[in-house]
Symmetry: C2
Subunit: 305 residues, 2 copies
């Protein structure tokens, strides 16, 4: 029942010797979601010991090179590795031009289907759903069409308290009704059932300038990835380039009531990201720096009976 984020690249536009462009893997139970795909994503994924074959869904925030230049290499490699099953990409519609070009020039060995699900919204909208989780896209405020993504486990079905079965002589039908939250004559659902665990959530916000609706859209997440390209010293530059400072990111986390904040997308002018962390921590204590290969795990919390 894993729910964890792996950060594979912490650079902004200019990579450095140790910072790679944006790429992240969110693992939700047995499913892997690749979020952004900067240059070297496929190598970073291999270095992390993760199987490329396990990725069925890629979510792209926007079409700046540092978020997509790893796509061609990854798509080629999947083809050469013999992938057959479709690959789903969620991204601004204009990615279709880039994918068409890829298929035309480099698509010879690509035998699997690349399915682009264009994202287009002005407020949060559900773009993906499976039995246990759902994903919402929401607009960010950048120099070009950009989306953030919110991953949420669904509310699990209520479990029955074992002792209650004998005590109330419950039939299978009655148990099923109680688990759905229905009360029966003998006893109320609330009395003999419980939520087995608390659903977990993660939101990805990169690249973006701060704006009022954002903390509302990611309210209460367990983990918030928020870009922090600059420190406050470069607030003007952040504003001009539609990026965030560490303080902007921390304020978003605080207003959203997030449990933890992961900072990334650091400008190459910062040899060390320590000043970014310091600035964020002053506002939001549970701030952490992304790092190539770092894992931010959200452990399953059992709900109290």
């Amino acid at each position: 029942m894993k729910f964890s984020l792996m950060t594979l690249g912490t650079a902004s536009a200019l990579p450095t010797a140790s910072r790679y462009p944006s790429a992240h893997i969110l693992t939700v139970r047995e499913r892997l979601f690749l979020i952004d795909c900067g240059e070297s994503a496929q190598m970073q994924i291999r270095k992390a010991g993760v199987s490329l074959a396990k990725i069925d869904n890629i979510l792209i925030s926007h079409l700046h090179g540092d978020h997509i230049f790893g796509l061609f290499g990854l798509l080629s490699t999947l083809g050469m590795a013999g992938r057959q099953s479709p690959l789903y990409i969620y991204a601004p519609e204009k990615l279709s031009e880039i994918l068409d070009f890829f298929k035309k020039e480099f698509g010879e060995g690509v035998k699997y289907e690349i399915v682009l699900n264009p994202v287009k919204c002005t407020a949060p909208v559900k773009i993906y759903e499976n039995r246990v989780m759902e994903i919402f896209a929401f607009p960010l405020r950048h120099r070009e069409e950009t989306y953030g993504y919110l991953f949420r486990e669904k509310q699990p079905k209520r479990n029955i308290v074992k002792e209650a079965i004998g005590k109330y002589d419950l039939s299978l039908h009655e148990i099923a009704r109680l688990k759905e939250g229905e009360d029966i004559d003998k006893v109320s659902s609330a009395e003999v059932t419980y939520i087995p665990y608390i659903p977990r959530s993660f939101a990805y916000c990169s690249d973006t300038a701060p704006f009022k609706a954002l903390p509302e859209w990611v309210a209460g997440v367990d983990l918030l990835y928020h870009e922090a390209t600059f420190t406050g010293e470069y607030a003007e530059l952040a504003k001009k380039t539609f990026h965030s400072t560490a303080a902007d990111a921390a304020r978003c986390a605080a207003l959203a009531g997030a449990k933890r904040l992961v900072l990334g997308h650091f400008s190459s002018r910062f040899k060390s990201a320590a000043p970014i962390l310091k600035e964020a921590k002053a506002i939001f204590k549970e701030s952490y720096l992304a790092k190539e290969g770092a894992i931010f795990d959200i452990p399953l919390q059992k709900a109290k009976l």
Copy 2:
């Protein structure tokens, strides 16, 4: 008076956790030539502590992804770094389509000129020349249009033996004539001049199946980079995919009378490249494995007086 090859990526089509796609830097004195530009080339260059700004010329062997997927990232980065001076690319003509697409989709911040010099030849042809060196392109035998490149220092001007100036009472005009190899009345050029150093050379052959003319075209090079995707065990596969085995590469080096051979472009099926080296060394003793970040230096050899 440097002349050295740095290998930045030793993978073939499928990169691994430790092997990056093809990219190499040849340094000839103060000039840097990037040879092929696989994904992550810009990061590998930075890791090696080499300044991207120093690269004015890029030579591309062919348009398979593992040799060019690093171009978009590198070209973008040069733009963001404020490059103004033109960048020269030597490649099969079809790269123009890829460069046009790049400029259209990602060219906003690219203020420098990208000059494509299309390579097209069926035998060695000079494609570049400066005061001290020249580069020749020659066709390789691969699944698609592919070229190898030969880098050669020019024959240096003869130097005058200092003692001869007084001994023969030589005027500046006479010295200049002797240095050009002309004999004068007083003395012959051969008697009082010498070649200050032996010109150095390097050839790059990737990707290619072996063929008869190749050793002739790279005859006598100090350093030969030759792909060795497979060992002899996979000779059939090498033939089918128009690649070379280690033995093919070694035979080429031996027939060419090369001084040293660097093997690269290893299939991902080889966890260790040791069997490739072993196979090559049995045929050509001066065989070496390329490695990410390895430098193969060709020291300047003074000619004997």
